[in-house]
Amino acid sequence: MKPFDQKTKLAEAVFYDFNLLRVISRFGIFPGFGDKTIGEICEDHEIDPVFFLIIVNSFTNKRYFPSHELADFSLNQMVSYLQKTHTYYIDYQLPLIGDMIDRLCNNQIQANKKLIVVKQFFSAYRKELTDHINREEKTTFPYVLKIEEVFENYEIASYTASDYNIMTYEKEHDNVEEKLIDLKNIMIKYLPEPFDHEMVIRILTELSWLEKDLNEHSRIEDAIMIPRVKIMETAIRKRL
């Protein structure tokens, strides 16, 4: 597939992958954008189109890798986007799934005591993901922003080589999806009757969306953010 560019109508991209609506909402773009192109919409919303296209293209095409644009966007924008996705998980998607699982467990007509363990398992996962997000917010993102600042302003004095570096992060970037995949698996294959079937399907739909979104989120971090930080780290070390 040819990557989307600034002349692509945004609606076309959304028709190609409906879930893109959830992604562009993080840029403050919501349905009702008419026949405007991506370039026009970015101008209206004061968004850097290069960065916007990296996100849209990497979301719709797993193999997309922004080679030549890589040097053209600021990490500041990247961090701000990643923070918005974090907020989306914590304030919206996790509570939504949590409420649905609560309703599944509290269903009086199809009462099933055992389902409480699904709820406990989800809570454990929710805590794990939240902790992971908090670590990124507290340590990784400030570090990334600082590196960019040092790199651009030649403020070498404020950089010490012994600082946390992005390799540490790469190593710690543990697999937060394992529990999520297990939960999906258990709900698809091993849930004992009785339970509200329709609710389970809806929960699975939201879990699958969360999984795809998280995968995409870490892919952006691993394949786009980290390489760029590494380049800057190397450049800074040469100046020392």
Binding site: K113, K114, I116, V117, V118, Q120, F121, A124, E178, K179, I181, D182, L183, N185, I186, K189, Y190, L191, P192
Partner: protein, 189 residues
């Protein structure tokens, strides 16, 4: 018979080279890759699509190795330094003929046993392992209580993950409760 790619994992150069020589002398289409530590092994496995690992018991008992193999579908032969060995392990004194038989067995099993296992679900032993894992037991404790070698416990764990598709221990606990292998009350202990 398609070519079987084997990774030989041992810290000893003599063992690595020795096994490679033995493998080359077999009338089986195999290709051996050698590695002395787990990190490199991981890379080779990914790049070369390795089908079988032969690992010596020293590396096999490292925590890192346990973690690593639990998450793979790979078949494993453990090289034991004992004079004789059981459980499909390979003794350091294995003869050329025995080695050929052992590998042929692995190749044959690889081709047709998978489907059978899926139909059968968990074996009785695997169910016992699931039960103990859900109650919080570690590999060593399970080995002791069920009178199994550590390697056998690991093989069970690998098979459980493959069959159920559940990787985390807490996920297994949920499975065990939902399917009546343990009760909610037991899990709380």
């Amino acid at each position: 018979m398609p070519q079987l790619k084997i990774l030989v994992l041992s810290q000893s150069n003599i063992i690595r080279q020795g096994i490679q020589l033995c493998l080359n002398d077999l009338s089986i289409p195999v290709k051996a890759y050698l590695s002395s530590e787990i990190e490199t092994a991981r890379e080779i496995i990914e790049k070369m699509q390795i089908g079988l690992i032969i690992v010596d018991e020293i590396i096999a008992s490292a925590k890192e190795f346990e973690k690593f193999i639990i998450n793979t579908d790979l078949k494993i032969i453990y090289l034991s330094f004992e004079k004789s060995s059981k459980d499909g392990n390979m003794s350091i004194n294995i003869s050329q003929k025995e080695m050929g038989d052992l590998l042929r067995e692995y190749i044959d099993n690889g081709n047709d046993s998978k489907n059978q296992e899926i139909e059968k679900g968990l074996s009785k032993r695997e169910n016992e392992v699931v039960r103990m894992l859900s109650l919080g037991a570690g590999n060593k404790e399970i080995a002791q209580k069920l009178h199994l070698s550590l390697h056998t416990v690991l093989t069970h764990r690998k098979n459980i993950i493959r069959k159920l598709g559940i990787k985390t221990t807490s996920g297994l606990t949920v499975y065990a409760i939902l399917n009546g292998i343990i009760t909610i009350e037991e899990a709380a202990i």
